[in-house]
């Protein structure tokens, strides 16, 4: 969570795990094409979507993220051939478990964004940021100590 002192307006903190080969390049392309995406999205570059350990996602929430999104190459296009197929199963099960524990399922998302899809990147991030803003602050998973 961040509070913009001037506007006194709450802004969501969104963590996006982007794989180096597609989604991160997609984000780059969005930038060079001057397509905007919300500044509240903090991108963490990972070598492949299957590098994302479930603990990363929980840690992000613990440290105050209001939403976490993971982006990777389209299934079939992974730089390491099959990484995102494994990641897909993992994230499905993890999100389902978070939902089962009563954490709002809209706070988690997976999107496949290729290096050529700067536009999609910007659309997805704007949409996700909108959803999270509507949901408001994440109070269920945060560690209060991290918010001081």
């Amino acid at each position: 969570m961040q509070v913009n002192e001037n506007a006194k307006e709450w802004k969501p903190l969104i963590v996006a795990f982007c794989c180096n080969w597609c989604s991160y390049a997609g984000a780059d392309l969005a930038g060079t094409s001057r397509l905007s995406y919300p500044a509240d999205v903090k991108i963490i570059r990972v070598p492949c979507s299957c590098r994302v350990n479930p603990m990363f996602i929980l840690k992000a929430f613990e440290k105050g993220a209001d939403g976490v999104i993971m982006c990777g190459c389209h299934p079939g296009d992974c730089h390491y051939s099959t990484g995102n197929y494994y990641a897909r199963r993992r994230m499905t099960l993890l999100f389902s478990m978070l939902d089962y524990l009563g954490i709002d399922r809209k706070r988690t998302r997976v999107e496949w964004v290729s290096a050529a899809e700067g536009q999609k990147f910007s659309l997805v991030m704007n949409d996700f940021a909108k959803t999270i803003t509507e949901l408001g602050e994440n109070v269920k998973l945060g560690d209060i100590r991290c918010k001081k």
């Binding site: 929980l58 840690k59 499905t92 939902d99 997976v110 560690d143």
Partner: protein, 328 residues
């Protein structure tokens, strides 16, 4: 089960004296008659202490990991109930134990009892529990009581996987082959049908009881990492005891996730939890999801099967399926 006990002691004695095995991994009575603990026996005369009765819920397969490391020559005899053989197979699949060093005697089982359930039914000062078919004769210092056997079963035995042995060298069984137990996903489905707020309140209440004694992890045959992330102070996740409500959730989510697809649903975690947290509801959620999304899979059913989380198909469901189904 007294009969099985007699036969096991006799057979184990023979195998020890002819040198087939050098020690026996079985059960022994602790301070109370219901407090039965795993134990090694190294000679035929020690075997008189070997116990096999209605309180032998413990799954001995995990003890084989360390035992195999110490075993220089000869074999270890181990007693496995039908459900324990699943964990045994899973450990073989993961190369944690050495089949050549182990001699498995499959021991018949008609469901193990949960002393906590008996206590919760209001029986105080229990001195002995006698098995009487479908009924239990409970001797207490306040006189004799009775109750239905089915009401006092361990959670894992209520949902028994069936009486087939998935691994054995020989079987000692005198019981009639029983039936499978109740539907194990009932509890999960009940929670799934609640609203998100109700689920959150339920788990907040349950998981906040956790004292991070790590018993659930230590007993689990699927949790056998040499170094656990929750023991590593630099991982930033080794927090103990209620320092905040998130940490214990993290522990349980990660633990359940780590064993997802490898958990045989042996039920040991729920059995040992001193706080009575229904941990099986977490594991069975993963099992249910895996069955629904990726096809039925029972860990430990056969040696060498590929766990669902280290496998994939090209047309697996997208994670967005979570958003599309179930209750908000």
């Amino acid at each position: 089960m007294q009969k099985v006990r007699g036969l096991v002691i006799k057979r184990a004695g023979e195998l020890l004296s002819d040198g087939t095995v050098t020690r026996v991994l079985g059960y022994k009575c602790g301070d109370f008659f219901y407090d039965v603990t795993p134990a090694f026996f190294e000679s035929a005369d020690q075997l008189s202490d070997l116990e096999y009765g209605s309180f032998c819920g413990a799954n001995l397969s995990k003890y084989l990991i360390n035992a195999c490391k110490d075993q220089k020559e000869g074999k270890i005899l181990v007693l496995l109930k039908p459900c324990d053989t699943y964990s045994f197979n899973q450990l073989l699949t993961e190369h944690r134990i050495d089949r050549d060093k182990i001699y498995v005697i499959g021991v018949g089982c008609k469901g193990m009892l949960d002393i906590e359930k008996l206590k919760a039914m209001g029986f105080k000062g229990i001195t002995k529990v006698l098995d009487n078919g479908d009924e239990l004769d409970i001797k207490t210092i306040y006189g004799d009581k009775k109750c239905k056997r089915a009401d006092a079963l361990l959670e894992k035995c209520v949902c028994c996987k069936g009486k087939d042995f998935k691994a054995f060298d020989e079987v000692i069984d005198v019981e009639e082959p029983g039936e499978k137990g109740a539907d194990r996903f009932e509890g999960v489905a009940l929670l799934e049908n609640m609203t998100s707020e109700e689920r959150f309140a339920f788990w907040n209440n349950e998981l906040s009881k956790c004292i991070r004694c790590n018993a659930c992890r230590n007993v689990c045959p699927a949790c056998s990492c040499m170094k656990c992330v929750f023991d590593n102070p630099v991982s930033g996740a080794a927090g103990k005891v209620n320092s905040n409500s998130f940490e214990e959730k993290m522990f349980h989510i990660i633990r359940a996730f780590h064993v997802a697809g490898r958990c045989t649903d042996c039920g040991e975690c729920s059995r040992v939890c001193p706080q009575g947290i229904p941990l099986h509801l977490l594991n069975r959620k993963f099992i249910k999801d895996i069955d629904e999304l990726y096809g039925d899979y029972q860990a430990g059913e056969e040696v060498g099967s590929r766990a669902p989380l280290v496998n994939f198909t090209f047309d697996d469901a997208e994670p967005s399926i979570v958003h599309e189904r179930g209750n908000e």
